[in-house]
Symmetry: C2
């Protein structure tokens, strides 16, 4: 729908680039950058779900509570399809290259922080039944799902986890899951391949009501005060990666399903 004219535009533009030599000629082809009417230039009507997702991943779109209704199908296809896997793998591949480049001291104090939900364990079986983020968050139903212990491993995150262990880096999970989900979370992690860890930190009742940024920053500070060096930090939410004591380098996995501040 509407794709043919778009493709034709591309070919015309590319043809113009290759058939003429001056920068003036291309300027006229870059029609989408030419101001049209008013101050804002040409209007691009409608919501692009791809642009919405990019806006979320780049932390431009913040504080949202649900996926736009018009994007349910798009997001569903994305997370069930190969692009989500490819997008995740690019991130973990970069993380592995980075980890291998580190000058590790091998004193058992090099630590990598993993978030859990949508970073280590996937809740896709739940979200596939609840509108892929379009339905408002329902704590009762989500906690019921968590208690089944049936979260799936994110395969590329599991690959990173194993590589980090083989390099002698310790793992600390820091999750917003509450302390009373410790046993089911530990069992779920082990069942899908995350077999051991240095720390498994759940959100204690004293942090109830605080943001993830505040809670996770405090936990990372505790770890550093205990002598650990956070050499890496991976999460699906910017709130895993912002704040203080974020680590030597952070990695943002894709997550278009929900937003946690």
């Amino acid at each position: 729908m509407g794709m043919l004219p778009l493709f034709l535009t591309f070919f015309v533009a590319i043809f113009a680039v290759t058939s003429k030599g001056s920068e003036d000629s291309i300027a006229h082809q870059i029609h989408l950058l030419r101001p049209q009417s008013g101050s804002g230039g040409g209007r691009i009507p409608g919501l692009s779900c791809l642009s919405w997702r990019l806006g979320v991943e780049t932390n431009n779109i913040i504080g949202w509570s649900t996926v736009p209704e018009a994007c349910e199908g798009y997001i569903g296809h994305y997370v069930l399809g190969s692009q989500y896997r490819k997008d995740s793998k690019v991130v973990t591949d970069e993380a592995i290259v980075y980890a291998k480049s580190l000058n590790l001291t091998k004193d058992g104090k090099d630590l990598w922080v993993f978030d859990i939900d949508e970073t280590s364990l996937s809740n896709l079986p739940y979200y596939a039944h609840h509108g892929f983020g379009v339905e408002p968050y329902n704590a009762t139903l989500f906690n019921k799902w968590v208690l089944t212990g049936k979260g799936l491993a994110l395969p590329d995150s599991l690959g990173l986890y194993n590589k980090l262990l083989s390099l002698g880096i310790k793992i600390a999970f820091i999750t917003g899951r509450p302390e009373d989900q410790r046993n089911v979370t530990a069992t779920n992690l082990k069942n899908v391949g995350f077999h051991s860890w240095e720390k498994l930190i759940l959100k204690g009742s004293s942090y109830k009501g605080t943001t993830a940024v505040v809670y996770k920053s405090a936990q990372r500070e505790n770890l550093e005060e205990s002598g650990y060096r956070i050499v890496g930090n991976i999460g699906d939410q910017w709130s895993d990666l912002l704040g203080t004591h974020v680590g030597k380098r952070t990695f943002k996995l894709p997550d278009p399903l929900y937003y946690i501040s």
Copy 2:
């Protein structure tokens, strides 16, 4: 090429979601998350240029010098096509919503920082002739292009600029362009609609060799010491938005053409 099986997979998966009721059933459909062989799960072969671009935009892929050769066509189509505009507009729309929500003091000290290249002025006419970021950066040729003063306005950035001015917010341009390009830059900005500003800060010779993060942080600190409040900050590079004194909120425009640290 290979799209039909992919689409079929989507439909099978979606059909399964809607035709069965339990979370167990969907778990078996989420085949891309099921571990296959080894620790890393199923292999996704080849470079996905879309994933590469997302990795760049999310600051996961850093320190790169050129666009992967295999992605020249993809990036060319992206920046000449409507998706780049849509992706940009989502960012500037968010910025406008945010700006309108601010409780401004109207004392002339509310300031918004704009980067210039690929934030205010587009160098697409240059990059279209130089491999869309695949060719290594050539300072001589790029500076020759800059001196033509033919940079195009990024229409959505221009829209944001006008909206901010109408709200009484002052504009400061902070650019990595050197001081000796002041006149051509000022003229180029005015010619395409960025008609006035509170500050136009170019990179003085004392910052030669320092990173953009260091140089731009120092400039923003100077502005705050002069009494300005940086209520917003927009750039196409993470080095525009990281460091210190980054502003109350930052906005990352897309730029898959080059990386500046």
